[in-house]
């Protein structure tokens, strides 16, 4: 798994293994995310705490509110910038965080 060089030490563990998973393409690599929880929560559950590079500060950010307020989990989901905390993963979804972009405005 390709991780950003500045991965935080903050991690979450799952109380129970997920009953079902779906395969998505995350930054070009196939990963399995739990079904029935948001993409943001799913990524945190597999140790992916960095949600994006801030386009203005050019620094890594992690999800902050997990309830649709902060927009720190905006990521490209099937070609559209969407809040990962409000979106469930679906089989074959393409998710790009552009972690190597240094946060330039697209």
């Amino acid at each position: 798994m390709l991780k950003h060089s500045t991965t935080s030490t903050a991690e979450f563990k799952q109380d129970q293994a997920p009953a079902e998973t779906v395969s998505v393409l995350l930054d070009g690599e196939k990963v399995d995310l739990p079904k029935g929880i948001s993409i943001a929560a799913g990524l945190l559950s597999i140790g992916e705490i960095i949600s994006r590079i801030s386009p203005s500060a050019h620094k890594p950010r992690s999800p902050h509110c997990l309830m649709g307020v902060c927009y720190e989990c905006l990521m490209e989901i099937d070609g559209v910038e969407r809040q990962a905390c409000m979106t469930d993963p679906e089989e074959g979804m393409v998710i790009n965080r552009h972690l190597d972009s240094k946060g330039e405005d697209a």
Partner: protein
């Protein structure tokens, strides 16, 4: 083809669930929209998928949500999850986006049950990965059964901070410290409000038990904390704070911030509802009558979105709004409305008994906040507190002027994360109360959506309003 409903309910937390269920049972055509994928709001988040272990962990206050959601499902309300409302108009029309498609629909009445959010208070380092809202950790536990690994520091103020600490404790998480900005000595007015609060003893009992358990576990717990800082270069490594002039330092993998809860008001502000400033709790809420009717006949506010009273009260407020709307639509006469409302009002009063005490105990005070020039205020646009003070030095005197010049509040979150603190900073600089410093104007779309989606919209009514509706806002 445009769609029309008797009532559109926005949000399916306790207020939205109770309102939509009751109105549908009365035979009305109701649409409930929620931007989350599953009903329950934040308090009852993913309660249908929680399972026994999680229901036990969060206790009966969470399990109540399952009953509400089950009733909602049984009533067969028209429900759409994953639906983001991005415009609300006073005439009863709304625009929302779902599955990459936007629609403009209408209703005789709209109930906005938008709930509450944590008061965002910028501190040094709060943009570092590993710093989250305490509510976020709570959401992750409810939605996904996630538990933080490593050392956790909780900082801020309010009963929910302690509630989150007690949940983490039950989950066996290592809590390095609880850092409360709440004053060491309880405010004088909290004492006068205690007798009334004791009449609603269940909540106080719950709080006291929680505190006792945290104390028994030997968790370092400080009050009167100031200057909280998240430390680290590209990720959180520790937390620093001062207590009575002494500097404390803690190693931390995760910092959870919580500075109380404020109404989520963007929909009301965008629709043009009259807003009121609560000077004690330092938040804005939409002006409304006892049924939840705003200054617009067709728009109702229910739940924590119109003042924060908690989940039980939210449910009652949802019922009251539904009763009044059912009456206005001719489903029940006024006498029946009043008969049905009476026990609800009584329950609401009972539930609110401890509220003045809790509010007095945890009311935010400007002295609790330390806004330093280097601190990032606007997370989206990377605007610092110093950037704002600089334009104030240059003569700017109003929030929206600050926004235009600095871009503070102009990012995708539209000032949700910086607006309240921006008002405190401008107010402090001008020696005014924050309400006199202005309120950020909120424009559609409330949620960023692709322009192609707007262009592809079916306006439904043949463009009778000239198609200028999107541009016509102030």
């Amino acid at each position: 083809m445009s769609r029309h409903y008797d009532v559109i309910v926005i949000g399916t937390g306790p207020a939205g669930l109770s309102a939509a269920t009751l109105l549908t049972k009365m035979g009305l055509n109701v649409l409930a929209l929620d931007e989350q994928q599953r009903p329950g709001g934040q308090i009852y988040r993913n309660v249908e998928g929680a399972g026994e272990a999680r229901l036990n962990l969060f206790g009966p206050d969470y399990s109540v949500g399952l009953e509400l959601v089950n009733e909602f499902r049984a009533a067969n309300v028209n429900y759409e999850g994953g639906a983001s409302v991005w415009q609300v108009e006073a005439d009863g029309r709304i625009c929302y986006s779902k599955d990459g498609k936007s629609s403009r629909i209408s209703a005789n009445y709209i109930i906005a049950a938008t709930g509450a959010m944590e008061r965002p208070v910028p501190i040094e380092g709060w943009t570092l990965p590993g710093v989250m809202g305490a509510g976020a950790a709570n959401n992750l536990a409810k939605e996904a059964g996630l538990t933080p690994k490593g050392k956790v520091v909780l900082a801020g103020s309010g009963p929910l901070l302690l509630l989150e600490a007690s949940i983490l404790l039950k989950k066996g998480v290592e809590i390095a410290a609880i850092l409360e900005t709440t004053d060491l000595i309880p405010p004088a007015d909290s004492v006068t409000k205690l007798p009334q609060a004791l009449m609603g003893w269940k909540l106080l009992y719950k709080g006291t038990t929680m505190l006792w358990e945290l104390q028994k576990a030997g968790i370092p717990h400080y009050r009167g904390v100031r200057n909280i800082r998240a430390l680290g270069a590209d990720a959180l490594s520790g937390v620093e704070a001062t207590v009575k002039g002494e500097t404390l330092n803690f190693d931390a993998d995760l910092l959870l911030l919580h500075f109380g809860v404020i109404p989520n008001t963007h929909i009301f502000r965008q629709a043009g509802c009259q807003m009121v400033w609560d000077e004690k709790l330092r938040y804005w809420y939409p002006s409304c009558d006892s049924w939840g009717r705003t200054n617009f006949e067709k728009i109702f506010a229910a739940g924590d979105g119109c003042r924060v009273h908690g989940a039980v009260a939210a449910r009652h407020k949802g019922t009251l709004a539904a009763l009044e709307i059912a009456c206005c639509l001719g489903m029940i006469p006024e006498s029946e409305r009043d008969d049905l409302a009476e026990p609800v009002l009584k329950a609401l009063r009972q539930d609110n008994l401890p509220r003045p005490f809790i509010d007095a105990m945890y009311a935010p005070k400007p002295s609790h906040f330390t806004f330093e020039n280097e601190t990032v205020l606007c997370r989206c646009e990377n605007v610092t507190v110093g950037d704002v003070r600089k334009v104030l030095d240059e003569g700017v005197r109003e929030l929206n002027e600050v926004k235009i010049i600095t871009r503070c509040g102009m990012g995708p979150c539209q000032g949700r994360m910086c607006g309240p603190a921006l008002a405190e900073i401008v107010g402090e600089y001008l020696s005014l109360e924050p309400d006199q410093a202005g309120l950020l104007v909120v424009r559609p779309p409330l949620k960023p959506i692709p322009l192609s989606e707007v262009a592809a919209m079916d306006l439904g009514d043949g463009g009778t309003d000239g198609g200028n509706w999107l541009l016509d806002k102030k």
